[in-house]
């Protein structure tokens, strides 16, 4: 066979047919905002840049709080970003009847826990080092706004990269999360940071808010994401197509 190594085209799609607008928040120190926006576009929606200091939430159908080191993560990951004016709006919209879908990735997840949109918290990885690896996750709940395009129990591979990724919560909270099906992702094969019960991601009770440490937005294009035995994973795209189908379906 003479095929070239597989790499997809990242050409920006023309105006998305779906009409869905997904906001991507930028804080000082946010790093993966452009990646999240690319993932949104590749899924077929319009990516709308949101600025942390904005006092109004633009007219968006969903919000991604991307990864990075907001305010350097110096105090605690996400601790300062949580107080941004826009975060207040996002929390209100997520808790409102409209149940705005919100996805927190890595630092975004940490910001959501600091904002008390999601329970528990992240502390330093048990090995105390930054870790970047391709991580297998099991989708434990395919009924959330961000996971409906996956099947229950499906295993996906996406990158993981963080310093403070160890998810902790008290036993009672953990039991509750389990009982209510709010553990959305679990690490498979290898727990990269010592997270309680191998938890990689969780949701709120309504399932519109999901946070996880690994990075689905880095597994959306063949050639630029996690590679196993020469094959690229685009497993992360499902997050963005899931929320898109919910938005379009609901319109």
């Amino acid at each position: 066979m003479t095929e070239l190594p597989l790499i997809g085209s990242a050409a920006v799609a023309d105006a998305p047919l779906s009409g869905a607008r997904i906001g991507v928040v930028t804080f000082p120190g946010t790093l993966d905002d452009r990646d999240a926006a690319r993932a949104v576009r590749l899924a077929g929606a319009e990516a709308v840049s949101l600025w942390h200091a904005d006092t109004e939430l633009a007219d968006v159908d969903a919000v991604v709080v991307p990864g990075g080191f907001s305010y350097g993560d110096y105090l605690r990951a996400g601790a300062i970003a949580r107080f941004a004016p826009l975060m207040g709006k996002i929390v209100d919209a997520a808790n409102s009847d409209a149940k705005l879908p919100v996805l927190g990735i890595c630092n975004g997840f940490q910001i959501l826990t600091e904002s008390h949109l999601l329970p528990g918290s992240m502390v330093k990885n048990d090995h105390l080092k930054f870790i970047c690896r391709n991580q297998v996750l099991r989708v434990e709940n395919s009924n959330t706004a961000w996971t409906s395009d996956y099947t229950q129990g499906q295993e996906i591979t996406v990158p993981l990269k963080n310093q403070d990724g160890q998810y902790i919560a008290d036993e009672k909270t953990l039991d509750e999360l389990e009982a209510e099906g709010r553990v959305v992702f679990r690490y498979v094969g290898f727990n990269p940071n010592g997270s309680r019960r191998d938890i990689a991601g969780i949701s709120n009770a309504a399932g519109n808010v999901v946070g996880l440490m690994p990075h689905p937005e880095h597994a959306v294009e063949a050639g630029f994401g996690p590679e196993t035995a020469g094959e690229f994973s685009v497993d992360g795209l499902g997050f963005f197509t899931s929320v898109l189908s919910q938005i379009v379906g609901g319109k």
Binding site: A79, T113, P119, V123, D126, L128, Q166, A169
Partner: protein, 83 residues
């Protein structure tokens, strides 16, 4: 200038990975007297002028809201130190 010291420690029931690493390293360096180590944070806030009750109350509030995360940490101390 007077300073307010705020001490924050990981909650006792929470595993502290940094403390654990230290307690592991101590005996290798010949320190065998310490059975457990926990690592927290110490903040020193400088105040222009006098530390009134009101300023101290503000410091306590900042300690509870920003400087610590009540899910995983306790504020163990808020105290004025004259420099």
């Amino acid at each position: 200038m007077p300073r307010i010291v705020v001490d924050v420690m990981p909650k006792p029931e929470i595993l502290d990975p940094q403390g654990k690493a230290i307690v592991g390293a101590l005996p290798r360096l010949g320190f065998t007297d310490f059975t457990s180590v926990r690592q927290g944070k110490r903040f020193e806030l400088e105040v222009e002028g006098e530390v009134t009750e009101d300023v101290l109350a503000k410091a306590r509030e900042a300690a509870e809201t920003l400087l610590s995360n009540p899910v995983i940490e306790d504020v163990v101390n808020v105290q004025v130190v004259e420099a």
